[in-house]
């Protein structure tokens, strides 16, 4: 039997050796492949005479999830901040307030500035604001500029609960609050029948303001969050209670006019104010083309940019525009980042182009600021009717197709 094993081994060995060897494939036999052969092709909206349109418009952003809170006024844009606090006072404190055995002896709010808008603004740039109590129930979820305009939050604009002047440095911003207002907020928590009820507060810019300050908003690390401090004093003169609260929710609302530009020449986007641009190319591509690369190029006019000290203007988003809106609630519509190089913002929107082909429905691509929640930066680009056609939005597509 050993001889048989040897025979078997001697035959198996060369088979294994030979079966392990193969050259890399070459072009031999390509001419036999007929319809399977594919071609690489290019399409350039600049050289392939493609009709395109562009415009810019004002949308709405709910800014409740923003990492910043913007307050102030500049460049025809103004921003207000809304807070809601949940005081949840101890029963003993509630009793003292109701029995009037303690009272508010001091109250202040502390905010943490991060950036200024415009970037040239400084501590000495005029900045005035007012504090009002909100008179009706509201929720931060979905709250935006339209909500404010629709009267979903009302307040007495004639009553300002800011007491004295604010104390501002580069890193802190402190202002004192009218004690009556603070008392009302606490009493609303202590006594369910107390009136006026507490529905939070709104900070609004006042006349003469020439900058917008970007404060730290609520965040997961609780770092530099806004805080409200109220000091309770006893009527018997003993002991003070110092209570510090952070907001249960916050948001800011940006209002203003759409940038004033020559719409034939320019398109614009602006964070906070929710100004977006829409560009549409009438592409002439084969239906079953595979899109390997589709570079969207936008030419910026940086002389018309206006941005804050956080110069996050090196990227913008391109967003697939669906029937109803530009959205990425569905991951399929993830924004694609266009990155600045010189005065050109560019990015690969191949997946959008492919979707236009698949659905035979090309509604265009939306351009949105990448910091659309956290600033009021304004960026301006050349539009589809720019006099210099070389500066118009450009789409360069590399695609493959069966021969």
């Amino acid at each position: 039997m050993r001889l048989h094993y040897l025979k078997v081994f001697l035959f198996i060995l060369p088979l294994i050796i030979f079966a392990s060897c193969s050259d890399d494939p070459t072009s031999v036999g390509l001419s036999q492949l007929g319809d399977d052969l594919i071609n690489l092709k290019k399409y350039d909206t600049q050289t392939d005479s493609t009709y395109q349109t562009s415009t810019f418009y004002k949308s709405t952003f709910a800014l409740g999830s923003a990492s910043r809170l913007l307050l102030g006024k500049a460049d025809l844009v103004e921003s207000s901040i809304l807070f809601r606090f949940s005081y949840s006072l101890a029963d003993s404190v509630k009793t003292q307030l109701k029995n009037k055995t303690s009272y508010v002896s001091n109250a202040w709010m502390e905010l943490y500035p991060k950036y200024n808008f415009p970037a040239k603004a400084s501590l000495t740039t005029p900045f005035y604001f007012r504090l009002h109590s909100i008179n009706q129930d509201w929720t931060v979820s979905g709250f935006n500029a339209d909500s404010l305009a629709a009267g979903k939050v009302t307040y007495d604009a004639s009553t300002n609960y800011v007491s004295g002047n604010a104390s501002a440095t580069d890193t802190t911003f402190v202002f004192y609050i009218d004690k009556t207002a603070a008392t009302n907020w606490l009493m609303s928590d202590a006594d369910t029948s107390f009136y006026p009820r507490d529905y939070g507060m709104i900070l609004t810019p006042a006349a003469g303001t020439q900058k917008i300050i970007e404060f730290q908003a609520l965040n997961s690390s609780s770092s530099d969050e806004p805080s409200l401090t109220i000091v309770l004093s006893k009527t018997n003169g003993y002991d003070n209670d110092t209570l510090t609260f952070t907001p249960a929710s916050d948001t800011h609302v940006v209002t203003g006019d759409i940038p004033s530009l020559n719409k034939q020449e320019y398109i614009a986007i602006q964070s906070g104010l929710a100004v977006e641009s829409l560009i549409k190319f009438n592409l002439n591509l084969p239906l079953h083309a595979v899109i390997n690369y589709a570079e969207l190029d936008l030419t910026a006019d940086t002389t018309k940019f206006l941005y804050g000290s956080d110069t996050t203007t090196t990227t913008v988003y391109a967003i697939y525009y669906s029937k109803d809106s530009a959205t990425w609630a569905n991951a399929e519509y993830d924004p694609i980042t266009l990155t600045k190089s010189g005065k050109i913002y560019s990015g690969n929107i191949a997946s959008y182009v492919k979707k236009w082909l698949n659905t035979s429905n090309n509604l265009g691509v939306v351009i949105r600021p990448s910091d659309y929640l956290d600033s009021v930066n304004k960026l301006v680009f050349k539009g589809s009717n720019a006099v210099n056609y070389l500066e118009r939005p450009r789409l360069k597509i590399t695609y493959t197709i069966n021969k």
Partner: protein
Amino acid sequence: MKFNSFRIAIVIVSIFSGFVVAQNSSTYTRNGIGDVENSYSARSLGIGEAGSAISDADFINMINPAGWSGLRTSRLEFGVNFSGLTVEDNNNKSYFGKGQFTGITLAFPVSTKYGIALAMGIVPYSNVSYKSKQYMTSTGDEGNYNISYEGSGGLNKLFLGTSLKLFNDFELGATLEYISGDLNYNTQITFENTNIASANYERSVKPKGVGTTLGLITPDINSLLGIKNIKNLKVGFSADIIGKLSSDTLLISYTTYKYSADTANLGSADMKVPYRLNFGLSFIYSDNYQIFADYTYQPWTNYSLNNAKYSTLRDLNKFTAGFEYHPTGPGSGMKTIWRGALGYEQTQYNIDGNGINKFFVSGGFSLPLSPENTMDIGLQAGFIGKKEVGLVRENFINLSAGFSFGEIWFFRSDKY
């Protein structure tokens, strides 16, 4: 059946199961259902995939089921195959190797007196296997890129059949077959510039359906002719008939970025594979030599997919002749069986009006492991096509190793 022999076989099968991803044919196989496989075993390869008139006692005949009526013992056969192939045109030449497990069959005699045997197994029916690649240079933004073309897959045949010996020793056989498999044709373009997504085109056809093979082998007709030194002169015929195969088809193209899949076409179509006829003659000369000759015809001009016919196909004609040397006398059961054949085939491929022909020479031997068990080695070498007029020439060598295990089943052993 010796346990050790079986263990050796398992080792070989395991080794070769790892070599299935490779190339063993050329871009000709893009046409139709690819190369038609006539054999899975080393023994069949050694006789040039012929034998439609051979009624063998020790091997399972896959050309003609009527040949099973000669089986004396239950048999298990399987094999592995190595293909070495050079593919060349006027500009390039490449070598490819491939090893794979080829099939398994089981047959057992129910009545040797009446020639009744049952057989079953799974064997290949066709094979698509090619790789080709274009290396492209570009000064554009995309940089250099290359395009790869690959065909793979094939059809397999799962069968169950029987044989019967009629009056005057006419042998009949029939099988019921389930045909299935997938034929895949993929193209991929990749770029040196990694910012540009590669593109993939995948086309596949997945046919399935039933078929049958009917066979007949005559008794010894030399009793009528009286030719000296010849006996067992037999004529054989078999017809391999496949009904319309229901085929799922898929054409998809996509790139590597998200959400880019494009199912361009997903449907079903009927595939019509033409019947195959085998005619054969065999006889034993001088007690030791079994001489045979076969002719195979398959009208591939009748092939269609979704009612579309293809000008790249023509009718197949194949001629094979060969011999098998069986030792005789005392101890012959432990002596080596030798075999050889020559063949010429007008393949089904017809490229731009040029018929693709194949020439081959086969040989092999069966090495006894015990009186009923053999290890079989088959070798076939030849070439297909030509390099002229934009065609491709394949120079191939196929080496097949297999085992044929025999065991007397269904016989009651004596009790002591």
